[in-house]
């Protein structure tokens, strides 16, 4: 057993209101630079939808992630010889149009336009070429199912639904959508690290944050292809790739990352998970439907004495072990089993988990009126608006049972509170629902508290990094103070 620590995340999708505050917090902090305009290290997508960049989930096109060939696990884009023959022209990159061409508006024209019969307008201009632009797409073109009828209908997760089911999904009465905020998953088996020809990407030993060395990166852009989530981005100004750094300068000083901190719906949770690094290879190779359970399996119980001993053996300090014991992430992922990885079939073992949304039940219309309570207000899980097959494609590698169990538990918590606080449900009915979900009242109460009433320190249980102690050992502290900050230790040749 090789116990390692990983800073992991849970996003509770039922609480996400799709306000994009997280994206803006991240943009303001990290990517408001030339060459980085089009990057959204954090973005929020509407589902069903094709996301950003367009159709990123379609690995038939982008060749991201890993695949099992025979007994071996290999990058979908190919082994080393194949990679090297394509090194000067990577054929599976998204184009700028698939992200979007960043633009601004020519505002000064409003002031400088000569007198004329018509009002002057501020036309959009490209932030890359400076030319006028006809806006065709943006990073959130299909937000709230908007943009056009094309995007949502081409969501590849709808593939397994029948034509009738798919059609039903887009009827006005049954229309459904929800949001998925996405950041780098800081995977246990990262696709970007696996294919980097320069060896510039690494996973930090102490907390598993995946970073791109700006000095080693040579801009081959294979990380862009290799990551199935399309989360590394190529900076056309510096000629190097960049990605979400999980705000490590903030995390190291005890603050939650900017997107976590600013989240309006308080959907985000962060904490340390302990896992068994010896079994990553083996787990990444199991059949698609078993991936979620296998991944849960290598996440270790931080209260288990053997695990604690293993962690100590690997140099994980006691403060980190106790942070792992308090982590909300462990409860969501392992204890309650309601947080699931996004697209586990990419085999990267993502360490960002999502609590799937429990969307409203189907309503029926009679005589032009909605009837919500015809049989049972809560109906059954099979009646949720977003089909289970669709949710399973997103969150459990196609295994409907896993998603169903997670939703059942969320359902049980609602029934529990409805019976206790609102009195909409009889105690007996609530008990039945909870029994079906194998959810005890204490557990329901705990889930409810961490979902609805968590305090800041319940959501983010960050371990102490003690960077200052390490620095004090090696550097004059006042010198260090004058030298820290965001920037380059060595400027890229093309300029920052």
């Amino acid at each position: 057993m090789d116990v390692r620590a990983q800073l992991s995340m849970v996003f509770h999708l039922d609480k996400c209101i799709g306000c994009h505050t997280c994206s803006i917090a991240c943009k303001n902090l990290w990517t408001s630079r030339e060459g980085a305009e089009y990057m959204w290290w954090n973005n929020v997508e509407t589902k069903p939808g094709t996301g950003y960049p367009t159709l990123w989930e379609d690995q038939g096109k982008y060749k991201g992630g890993w695949e099992v060939k025979g007994k071996a696990l290999r990058p979908k884009i190919g082994r080393r010889p194949g990679l090297l023959t394509n090194i000067f022209f990577n054929p599976f990159l998204p184009t700028m149009d698939d992200y979007y061409e960043p633009w601004t508006y020519k505002y000064e024209h409003l002031y400088t336009a000569p007198a004329a019969d018509d009002q002057p307008t501020a036309r959009p201009v490209s932030k890359v070429s400076g030319r006028f632009l006809d806006l065709e797409a943006g990073p959130n073109w299909d937000d709230d199912l908007g943009g056009s009828s094309v995007y949502a209908r081409n969501d590849i997760n709808l593939d397994e639904l029948s034509a009738a089911e798919r059609e039903a999904l887009f009827r006005l009465e049954r229309m459904v959508f929800f949001y998925i905020p996405r950041i780098c998953n800081h995977c246990l088996n990262p696709g970007c690290v696996g294919v980097c020809p320069s060896g510039a990407i690494y996973k930090r030993a102490e907390d598993g944050i995946v970073l791109v060395s700006q000095e080693k990166c040579r801009g081959w852009r294979f990380c862009v292809s290799g990551c199935p989530y399309k989360k590394p981005y190529y900076n056309w100004k510096t000629g190097k790739s960049e990605k979400c750094i999980l705000c490590y300068p903030r995390v190291e000083t005890g603050q939650a990352p900017a997107c976590f901190h600013s989240c309006v719906g308080r959907i985000r949770y962060m904490g340390i998970l302990l896992y068994d690094a010896d079994r990553i290879q083996e787990v990444a190779k199991v059949p698609e439907a078993d991936l979620v359970n296998a991944q849960r399996d290598i996440i270790l119980d931080p209260c288990d004495a053997a695990v604690v001993a293993g962690a100590r053996r690997n140099g994980i300090v006691d403060a980190w072990i106790s942070a792992a014991q308090k982590a909300p992430v462990y409860k969501f992922v392992k204890k309650w089993g309601i947080a699931l990885p996004l697209h586990s079939e990419f085999r990267t073992l993502p360490m960002l988990f999502y609590v799937p949304p429990l969307l409203p039940v189907l309503a029926s219309t009679e005589n032009g009126c909605y009837d919500l309570g015809k049989s049972d207000f809560f109906g059954t899980i099979d009646n949720v608006r977003a089909p289970l097959k669709y949710m399973a494609r997103l969150f459990s590698g196609g295994n409907v049972e896993i998603v169903k169990q997670a939703l059942r538990k969320l359902w049980a918590v609602r029934a529990y509170k409805q019976a206790r606080s609102a009195g909409n449900l009889t105690e007996g009915r609530a008990q039945a629902i909870m029994g079906e979900a194998r959810c005890a009242p204490e557990e329901a109460e705990e889930i409810f508290r961490l979902t609805a009433l968590p305090r800041f320190e319940d959501r983010f249980v960050l371990p102490p990094y003690h960077r200052e102690e390490v620095i004090a050992l090696t550097t004059e502290t006042l010198m260090q103070k004058g030298q820290t900050g965001f920037g380059y230790t060595r400027l890229p040749k093309r300029g920052p």
Partner: protein, 294 residues
């Protein structure tokens, strides 16, 4: 790592600089030897630079007979012409242009200095008037080369020497490295020098022989003044060139073939790349929007 890389580059640059310096020093040494070698500077220069194409009183070979040239043209014109013939043609000097027309080529620029030109003219003038010093035999340096040697030239051996199949004894590179003769080799010869298919017709036997023995062209001179051709080799190559000039020219056809091969080859390579990378992505969103909803 970075420092080691830099120092390696520095060593390479330094060695290149050293080699260039050594070569240029060697070259300079040789010129000095030439300049101070002979008693009569004019004669030495004439043998070095002019004899291949010109005679004094022995008739026209590749270039005109220079007997009495001083009287025909005037000294200042001659000095200008000898030092930079190509420039004079370019400037449109009528006499120079007429000479080009008459002899079918521009006299190569041989890097003769003004002072050297004057020495040459003095020598030519002395030869022309017949008051040459006894030590300089009038016949041997200027007379047209004997044709007896070439008569025995073997055409097949000449072809092998030209193409490099047989090595030149002096160690010089084969003619084909720089010259083409129609029908030699699959890809033809080099294009640095002139196409020699019609050289024999233009210069005649004596012209070719003298050019091969004592080439006036800067590049050939650099090479073959050191690695000289033997008499037998000269005869063989001359015989080959004679044969070549009598065959009909196919060079224009060769050029067309070469062009067609290049175009077809380029298309094949592009086609192969298209096939190899047929699965490449060329935009996802646009085709998606064009394809409409499913």
């Amino acid at each position: 790592m970075h420092g080691a890389h830099k120092s390696r580059i520095r060593v390479i640059i330094a060695s290149i600089v050293l080699v260039v310096l050594a070569l240029s020093a060697a070259g300079r040494g040789r010129t000095i030897a030439w300049a101070s070698g002979g008693e009569d500077r004019g004669e030495t220069l004439f043998v070095e630079k002019c004899k291949a194409c010109h005679t004094v009183g022995a008739g026209r070979t590749i270039g005109p007979d220079l007997k009495g040239v001083g009287a025909r043209r005037g000294e200042s014109w001659l000095v200008r012409f000898i030092t930079a013939p190509d420039r004079m043609v370019a400037q449109g000097d009528p006499v120079a242009k007429q000479l080009v027309q008459e002899y079918g080529m521009v006299m190569p620029s041989l890097g003769v200095s003004e002072e050297e030109a004057k020495a040459l003219l003095a020598y030519i003038a002395a030869q022309s008037s017949g008051s040459a010093p006894a030590s300089a035999p009038t016949a041997s340096p200027i007379s047209s080369p004997t044709t007896a040697a070439t008569a025995s030239g073997d055409m097949a051996r000449g072809r092998d020497l030209f193409s490099g199949k047989t090595r030149l004894k002096g160690g010089g590179p084969a003619c084909m490295s720089c010259h083409n003769v129609s029908g030699v080799g699959i890809w033809g010869g080099g294009t640095v020098g002139k196409d020699l298919t019609k050289a024999y017709a233009a210069f005649g036997e004596s012209g070719i022989v003298s050019l091969l023995k004592n080439a006036p062209f800067p590049m050939m001179k650099e090479i073959y003044s050191v690695k000289q051709l033997g008499d037998g080799e000269v005869a063989d190559v001359t015989a080959f060139l004679k044969e070549a000039s009598s065959t009909p020219a196919t060079s224009s056809q060769g050029a067309a073939l070469f062009f067609i091969i290049s175009v077809v080859g380029a298309l094949l390579v592009i086609g192969a790349f298209q096939l190899l990378w047929r699965g490449r992505l060329s935009g996802v969103r646009r085709p998606l929007v064009k394809g409409g909803s499913r």
